[in-house]
């Protein structure tokens, strides 16, 4: 090729590049988020349904709590306090067996149908009868397919009556049963108009909403976007943000860039590597929100070696809780050894927790259990942060006293499949509770109605690890606390349960999760609790 030919080619390429650059430069500057729109960056990989009876994902739960009002609200600032919701008031009989709710008058569903007590009763009955994800929230309190129609009734258009079979502690019962998605009041007529093959409208409601709340679902596309639009007639307060757009941004670094540029207002999946940069940026605020979620080790007593109480205790001395908290888990988790999270009713103070890294003590315990030279066990873990990091820490310390832990990372669905079927030796797991009360955790982790394999009590982690809590009298203690109406007495009962749990349980609770929410400083007034985010109160300056 002659040089002139080559020159022409290069010139053409240069011209093309120049044209492209000009085209790019002439494109409009990226639009920032409008003042009446709140844009969130979040990982929206999984969301199957909008039906409150079937919601299982944190993201959908949070969004739908801004679409549907429950009978009773958790307070904006203090989740332990209750506030009127669709029910403007309620009363409990002295024997704590009957609850009467007065349904707020004048509310209308988007269809125009009035909100009545019949809708409220039907919504609870539907949840139990459908027996999907949220059914456990009612079933745990004695509601069954057989009794729910008689137990939950509307005596007139504005009076809902709920009868229970046992006298539960009223604040606990109200908080656990009537503040979440299981207590959303649905438009009975509208939903049943879309019923198909006896599905209680589940198919239809999986893609839309039929309830009263500050927002309505406008667009819903898995792996893409979720958009809420303001309900201009909302009864509770003036809603300033007109539109909430949740964009699927799976990568934490990309979320940070979008936030810094002002293309999103809130980033929900910020990773620890970005914390420092966000904290340095005067336009951004990093909000650390302690959740009622745990990372913990479960030791299966189905394994002969791990049946030993001494061996199980040895594991509790193998974790350097404080060191991890200040390094790997910084801004991600706080050390917590008790089964009851900090911030929940009945939690013991952190100072009462006994464990720290003490290899000598651990060595002594495994020797006393008849394994002075150690042993070999498999440790199954989720493959995502921070499971491998915690596992490597435990593995390194265990190796120092002769315990060889073989780490087996896997997908979450596989991990929990093995956990639920008692098909493991040891593992690191996560758990989240949805009430700010000790009961939320102890009713699953320190309660095991029947430890036999054939019982298949898979909803109880205590069963999964084969912990015979009945032998320690803990089942009775948990049930007694559930019924105790004297608040102080109930608190003391939970303290006692935690002391036994700390000494005896085959669980090594290590960290309580911190949720990191990075926001633009223009976003104001957004109440954030461990359980809910009330977008209806947010505004932008």
């Amino acid at each position: 090729m002659r040089t002139s030919d080559c020159g022409r080619t290069v010139l053409s390429a240069g011209l093309a590049a120049g044209l492209l650059a000009t085209a790019l430069a002439s494109t409009p500057a990226p639009a920032k988020t409008p003042k009446d729109t709140l844009v969130l960056g979040w990982t929206l990989a999984i969301y199957r349904t909008l039906d409150p009876a079937d919601i299982g994902e944190t993201f959908v739960d949070e969004m739908m709590n801004n679409v549907c009002d429950p009978l009773v609200f958790q307070d904006y600032e203090n989740p332990a306090k209750l506030a009127p919701g669709i029910a403007e008031s309620w009363s409990v009989t002295d024997d704590a067996l009957t609850y009467t709710f007065k349904i707020r008058q004048g509310l209308k569903f988007p269809s125009g149908n009035p909100v009545t007590a019949h809708d409220a009763a039907w919504s609870i009955q539907r949840n139990v009868k459908l027996n999907l994800n949220s059914a456990v929230m009612h079933k745990e309190w004695g509601f069954t397919d057989e009794n729910v129609v008689e137990s939950v009734t509307a005596s007139d258009d504005h009076t809902l009556v709920v009868k229970v079979t046992e006298p539960f502690a009223p604040p606990l019962f109200l908080a656990q049963v009537f503040t979440g998605r299981a207590a959303f009041v649905l438009d009975r007529k509208e939903v049943m108009a879309h019923e198909k093959d006896g599905d209680w409208g589940n198919g239809w409601l999986s893609k839309t909403s039929a309830c009263v709340g500050p927002y309505r679902v406008r667009t819903w596309k898995a792996n893409d976007v979720f958009i809420l639009e303001r309900n201009d007639d909302y009864w509770r307060n003036e809603v300033k943000i007109k539109r909430i757009v949740v964009r699927h941004v799976p990568e934490g670094g990309a979320q940070r860039l979008l936030l810094e540029k002002g293309d999103i207002d809130i980033a929900r999946n910020i990773t620890s590597s970005d914390f420092a940069a966000i904290e340095r940026n005067p336009d951004l605020v990093l909000f650390n929100n302690p959740m009622h979620s745990y990372w913990y080790i479960g030791l299966c007593t189905c394994d002969e070696v791990l049946q030993s109480r001494d061996i199980r205790e040895a594991f509790k001395w193998l974790v350097d809780y404080k060191k991890l908290e200040s390094t790997v888990m910084r801004n991600v988790g706080v050390a917590r050894q008790s089964v009851v999270p900090i911030g929940a009713f009945g939690a013991i103070p952190v100072d009462d927790e006994p464990y720290r890294l003490d290899l000598d003590k651990a060595r002594e315990l495994i020797a006393r259990a008849g394994h002075p030279d150690g042993f070999k066990k498999k440790l199954i873990i989720d493959q995502v942060f921070p499971f491998p990091e915690i596992a490597q820490h435990v593995q390194a310390n265990a190796a120092k006293i002769g315990i060889e832990l073989e780490i087996q990372p896997m997908a979450a669905a596989q991990l929990y499949g093995q956990f639920r079927s008692r098909d493991f030796e040891s593992g690191i797991f996560a758990w989240t509770t949805n009430v700010p009360d000790a009961h939320g955790m102890v009713s699953r982790h320190v309660f095991n109605p029947d430890n036999r394999d054939e019982f298949k009590g898979t909803m109880f982690p205590a069963w999964r690890v084969g912990w015979d809590v009945a032998a320690l009298g803990l089942n009775d203690k948990v049930l007694a606390a559930k019924m105790e109406t004297d608040t102080e007495k109930r608190r003391r009962m939970y303290h006692e349960i935690q002391r036994v749990q700390l000494a005896e349980s085959p669980f090594v609770y290590m960290f309580q999760k911190i949720e990191n929410i990075a926001m633009r400083k223009e976003v104001k007034g957004l109440p954030i609790t461990a359980f809910k985010k009330f977008y209806a109160k947010a505004y932008k300056e």
Partner: protein, 360 residues
């Protein structure tokens, strides 16, 4: 009996008709064999994916009901998903539904798999097409120049670019691209297909935001979408470019050593004519396969690019489906990938016939 001229066909015409019939029969036979082979390939692909999927130790029920569900709820969902049936029954149920283009409901998206794929695939198609255009329009000239100026600076630069394209993790490249061109310089749009302001404004017709915006006469959105696709398209196109440039160079070197090239030069043709009209025309045929394969891989799902750039495409959808053990979605995607590769192979065969006179 009187016989008219019309009743008597000349021997030549009869022979022509016989030949035409033979050609037609041969073509019909070839088409029939093609249909059977496509059917067997897709069936085999589905069977393999289905049985491997069922052997994976991932529990699809847990992905639906969550870790905290009680056993009654778990078992109800187990039956609802048809997992209590023998494997061959499950497979037959799936195949017979798939034949009606019903791929079931995705357990992690809660939507019909067919509608999910129809939604995510155009996003990937759009991205892959831009990437392929970058790869072809830059990769081919680079490959040709590298071959013509063998061992020169141009050749070395092309090889280095190719090496970087092959060896640099696309995830890192994507993040760096975002940081520099979006974060620091502000030349391009950020992650996502358009800015938040423009989301959900254009009614999806084709699923391609560029085409839909143009059809709707929303030119602000169109240009915004262009600014968003430039970066992921270029990053993805860079890997295609590396492959196409390397293969083009290799094909061209082979042709430039042929005697007909020397003859063409002796005839006094210009370098441009020798290279582009003679040598490159012979390279074009094998290059079609290279381009078709590149396109296939790009369409199959550029999951990492889609993750970094928050591109709601096919790759991310398939990866999520695999991680959640959502077999309906995995099988639907497998079928789509199979059809893509078969279609691209057919297309390249067709182009071979058009471009290569020897195949006529």
């Amino acid at each position: 009996m009187a016989v008219s001229d019309r009743d008597i066909e000349p021997v030549g015409a009869l022979a022509d008709r016989a030949v035409r019939r033979q050609v037609w029969l041969r073509r019909a036979g070839a088409a029939g064999r093609l249909v059977v082979s496509v059917f067997v390939t897709l069936l085999g692909l589905l069977a393999l994916t289905f049985f491997i999927g069922r052997m994976l130790p991932i529990d699809p029920v847990l992905a639906v009901v969550g870790d905290q569900a009680d056993q009654a709820t778990y078992e109800m969902m187990y039956r609802k998903l048809g997992l209590d049936q023998p494997l061959y029954v499950q497979f037959w149920t799936y195949i017979s539904s798939a034949a009606r283009l019903d791929f079931g409901v995705g357990t992690f998206s809660g939507q019909e798999v067919a509608s999910d794929i129809a939604r995510v695939f155009p996003a990937t198609l759009e991205l892959a097409t831009v990437a392929l255009l970058v790869g072809v329009f830059l990769g081919i000239p680079m490959g040709v120049l590298a071959a013509v100026f063998r061992n020169s600076l141009i050749d070395h630069v092309t090889r280095i670019i190719g090496l970087i394209g092959y060896s640099t993790p696309i995830f890192w490249l994507g993040l760096m691209g975002l940081l520099v061109f979006y974060g620091m310089l502000g030349w391009v749009g950020g992650p996502g297909r358009v800015d938040s302001f423009y989301i959900d404004i254009v009614e999806p017709v084709t699923g391609s935001i560029l085409i839909d915006a143009a059809l709707a006469d929303e030119w602000d959105i169109f240009w915004n979408a262009v600014s968003h696709i430039v970066m992921p398209g270029s990053i993805l196109g860079f890997t295609a470019l590396a492959y196409i440039a390397r293969m083009t160079r290799s094909f061209m070197l082979e042709q430039l050593n042929q005697e007909y090239v020397i003859t063409a030069r002796v005839k006094g043709l210009s370098n441009r004519q020798v290279i582009w009209r003679h040598a490159f025309r012979n390279v074009a045929v094998p290059l079609i396969t290279v381009i078709a394969l590149s396109y296939g891989f790009l369409l199959e799902g550029a999951v990492l690019t889609e993750t970094v750039f928050a591109w709601p495409g096919f790759g991310q959808y398939l990866t999520n489906a695999l991680l959640q053990g959502d077999m309906n979605a995995v099988l639907g995607c497998t079928l789509v990938v199979g059809v893509i590769f078969i279609a691209l192979n057919l297309l390249s065969d067709l182009l071979y016939r058009l471009l290569d006179p020897r195949t006529k």
